[in-house]
Amino acid sequence: MAQFTFTINGAKKTVDVPPDMPILWILRDLAGLTGTKYGCGVGSCGACTVLLGDEAVKSCLISADEVEGKPITTIEGLSADGSHPLQKAWVETDVPQCGYCQTGQIMAAAALLKAHPKPSDSDIDDYLSTNICRCGTYPRIREAIRRAVAEEVEER
């Protein structure tokens, strides 16, 4: 056990945990942030995707000792009220079916838009193919990303 201090969604959080404890379980079981989902624990489904800085990472693969000092953004930190363009676009496009993977999909899309504000189809493939949607909502995920991009452009 050791003490680690993180910045999660802009707030400092100190935990006393085993150094190899994945961030996923720190978020879900210790920080009360259950919007980040457990899907596989081995980095093959992307349900646990969060932002580390501006990068999308699988929080099940990143342990406490690898993150200290770096800012983590979870779905709860993307916006407090669902006002992020991706969140709005997801609702309007009616993307979710069961909904379980969607917070991870949105976080992967958030990293995509940070790197590629106007993503091509292959950019979307590159950033989103790490995330499985067992319900198969992919066409609407793609459409929602397009919608969010269009709204961003409109607001500028």
Binding site: M1, W25, G41, I75, G82, G99, N131, I141
Partner: protein, 681 residues
């Protein structure tokens, strides 16, 4: 069978503790299931509650596993009630016998709820009108309802909230006229589902998100092989892991309870269990496949004509919902509270009550949002195990299944082999169609010919069902047995078309009897601009049709044979007639979901058995479709005034065959075994 025909509904009304109108709609499942004269023979399927404040609450008794019933069922009630959709709040029912069957599956939810939910809404509307008419001293017939307000020809108007208390005192009318579908203002709209906002903000509560005071997280080390056991384990080592609070031997294995999930997982690792594979150590996919082959029977004599024979095989499949099995249980003071992402909360309630020797009323089952079902969550195993662990622990417990637990301890879509023989007459059409369907599941079936339920007119169409007993647990998977036979039937009819020298789409048209299915096929041909299965070198188009669950579906899929990437699925054209589409967005979502499942299982996904156990453990070896592999969709819903059909299953059965048919068109290779992950050299 149309579920509506086997049910009739009775409306009951009562005054709530808080004033206002409560209307319960009770569905009588069937005379056999609910004997006359028993204390509680009926059960409400849905409730609507109007508070004096005007708030409208609609309770949905069916779990939403992703098919959107929390939206579509509430839409039905709201439509007949006559409220603005924006004013509706949807509540999830706590398990209770009064709801009748709360099970979701077999594309039955909308079909079985359609009539009773309309009647519930319409009766409430009539009572609110009656209350207003009395208040104003006018005839009810002179009043109408608009967006939660009763209006008269004159200046009078009253909101539902203002009328609720008075309306609740009125007798419940029967035989209230239902709305003419042309007057629908909610049904048929394209509405985003009610949980979207919670989902995208991370506030939606799935089973694994339940947190109750004092609860421990538990994981279980289970025998890997079916019928196996745990030979030994190191309890002391597990207890040394920081955060581990308890190690308990239960009927399913060794449970490790801890302060958080990671400690429980680490504790389980520390158990270093030694597996005893038990009596099924020699069972593997090859031996099961061989057993299935031995179940085939001779076809018998055939009439004169061109004989076509083929055999198709499909593997076991896991449901692999994104949210692994889990269940949270608290038992205290003679009461049990369960939070379950389940497809059958009422069955969990009954099962827990029986196990704990409690009255059913002492067991409260909350249905959380459900991270995918596909048939897996009909099963009671995950809830029964959590009840056992919570009882033994004497503390609230959330039992979490890791992904490999979930994949290795599923109730799998059975593997099957399908052998066909057809005889074509001089016009190329089949005069005889015989199908032997051999499934790997408990129960051998009957080696007698029955009728093959296919949408094609063939003078003699027969099916023989059978199979092999194996120790591998099986269960319902999206579209149940059609998930096996859909691939086989729609591939074989395609082969017959080529054998007859006909266009595969035109050939189907020449055999289809049902006008509604025909309309979907004709429309999809137009939508896709069908000019034959081989549009260009290396490209192929495949057709698939299916009628079932009250709906009719046709699709065309375009594939490219890419020298580097292999088979790429480019575009799916789909046309569905599902009767009245409650929510067109939900209908299209189910088409996308069903077809994408079809593509995944056509090309990638399989569960294999070795040493009596499942070989796969996660999404890297039980692969599913990903963004870069997902095709574009063009979907059309045919307008209809027929009663709604089911949508959860109908798009799956023909999809793997449509892909196989397209691959044949593109490459000349007829692939008859799923998954089709390799082309012959």
């Amino acid at each position: 069978m149309n579920p509506e025909l086997s049910r009739r509904s009775v409306i009951k009304v009562g005054v709530a503790a808080t004033a206002g109108l409560i209307l319960g709609c009770r569905i009588r499942e069937s005379a056999a299931a609910t004997p006359q004269g028993s204390a509680d023979p009926f059960a409400p399927n849905a409730w609507l509650r109007i508070a004096p404040s005007g708030e409208v609450f609609i309770t949905v008794a069916k779990p939403d596993i992703g098919t959107g019933v929390r939206t579509s069922l509430a839409m039905i009630v709201a439509e007949e009630l006559g409220v603005a959709w924006e004013s509706v709040k949807v509540e999830q029912a706590v398990a209770d016998a009064k709801y009748g069957s709360m099970m979701i599956g077999g594309s039955t939810s909308v079909r079985s709820s359609w009539r009773p939910l309309r009647e519930a809404g319409a009766a409430a509307r009539a009572m609110l009108i009656e209350a207003a008419a009395k208040k104003w001293g006018v005839e009810p017939g002179s009043c109408r309802v608009e967006n939660g307000v009763v209006l008269n020809h004159g200046p009078e108007k009253a909101t539902f909230g203002e009328l609720a208390t008075e309306a609740a005192r009125l007798p419940v009318p029967t035989g209230v006229a239902l709305k003419d579908p042309k007057d629908f203002t909610i049904i048929g709209k394209r509405l985003p589902r009610v949980d979207n906002r919670d989902v995208v903000t991370g506030t939606a509560k799935f089973g694994m998100d339940v947190r109750i005071p004092g609860m421990l997280m538990a994981v279980v080390a289970r025998p890997e092989a079916f019928g196996g056991s745990i030979a030994s384990f190191d309890e002391a080592a597990a207890r040394k892991v920081p955060g581990v609070r308890d190690v308990i031997k239960v009927s399913t294995g060794i449970a490790v309870l801890a302060d958080h999930t990671w400690a429980a997982l680490a504790g389980r690792e520390a158990l270093a269990v030694k597996q005893d594979p038990g009596p099924n150590a020699s069972v593997d996919s090859e031996s099961i496949h061989k057993q299935l082959g031995e179940a085939f029977q001779p076809f018998g004599d055939a009439p004169e004509g061109k004989v076509v024979e083929a055999e198709y095989a499909v593997p076991y499949l896991s449901h692999a919902p994104m949210e692994p099995m889990n269940c949270t249980v608290s038992i205290a003071d003679g009461k049990c509270t369960i939070y379950a992402p389940s497809q059958a909360p009422d069955a969990i309630q009954r099962s827990a009550a029986q196990r704990l020797s409690l009255d059913r009323s002492a067991v409260t089952v909350h249905t959380t949002l459900v991270g995918g079902g596909f048939g897996r969550r009909f099963q009671m195993d995950f809830a029964n195990e959590a009840v056992e662990i919570a009882q033994a622990a004497g503390k609230p417990v959330q039992v979490v299944w890791s992904r490999d637990d979930d994949m290795k301890h599923d109730f799998y879509r059975p593997a099957s082999r399908n052998r066909f023989r057809a005889v074509l007459g001089s016009d190329g059409k089949p005069v005889l169609w015989q199908h032997q369907f051999m499934q790997a599941q408990a129960g051998r079936g009957t080696p007698n010919w029955g009728r093959e339920e296919i949408p094609y007119q063939i003078p003699t169409a027969q099916r023989m069902t059978g199979g092999a007993r194996t120790p591998i647990p099986t269960g319902a998977w999206r579209s149940v047995s059609h998930s096996n036979t859909g691939f086989a039937i729609e591939s074989f009819v395609d082969e017959l078309a080529y054998a007859a020298g006909a266009d595969p789409l035109e050939y189907r048209k020449s055999l289809i009897a049902d006008a509604r299915l025909m309309a979907t096929l004709e429309r999809v041909a137009k939508l896709a601009d069908w000019k034959g299965p081989k549009p260009a070198k290396g490209k192929g188009r495949g057709v698939g049709c299916f009628a079932g669950y009250g709906s009719y579906f046709s699709m065309i899929v375009d594939v490219t044979h890419d020298p580097d990437l292999g088979i790429v699925v480019n575009h799916v054209y789909a046309v569905v007639d599902c009767g009245i589409a409650i929510n067109s967005s939900g209908v299209e979502a189910q088409v996308i979901g069903g077809v994408n499942d079809g593509i995944a299982t056509a090309l990638k996904s399989a569960i294999t058995i070795k040493g009596g156990a499942v070989e796969q453990s996660s999404y890297f070896d039980f692969e599913w479709l990903r963004m870069n592999e997902a095709p574009k969709f063009t979907i059309e819903i045919l307008p209809s005034q027929e009663a709604p059909g089911g949508m959860g299953e109908v798009a799956y059965p023909p999809a793997p065959a449509a892909v196989a048919n397209a691959i044949y068109a593109a490459t000349g290779h007829r692939l008859r075994t799923l998954p089709m992950n390799e082309l012959p050299e």
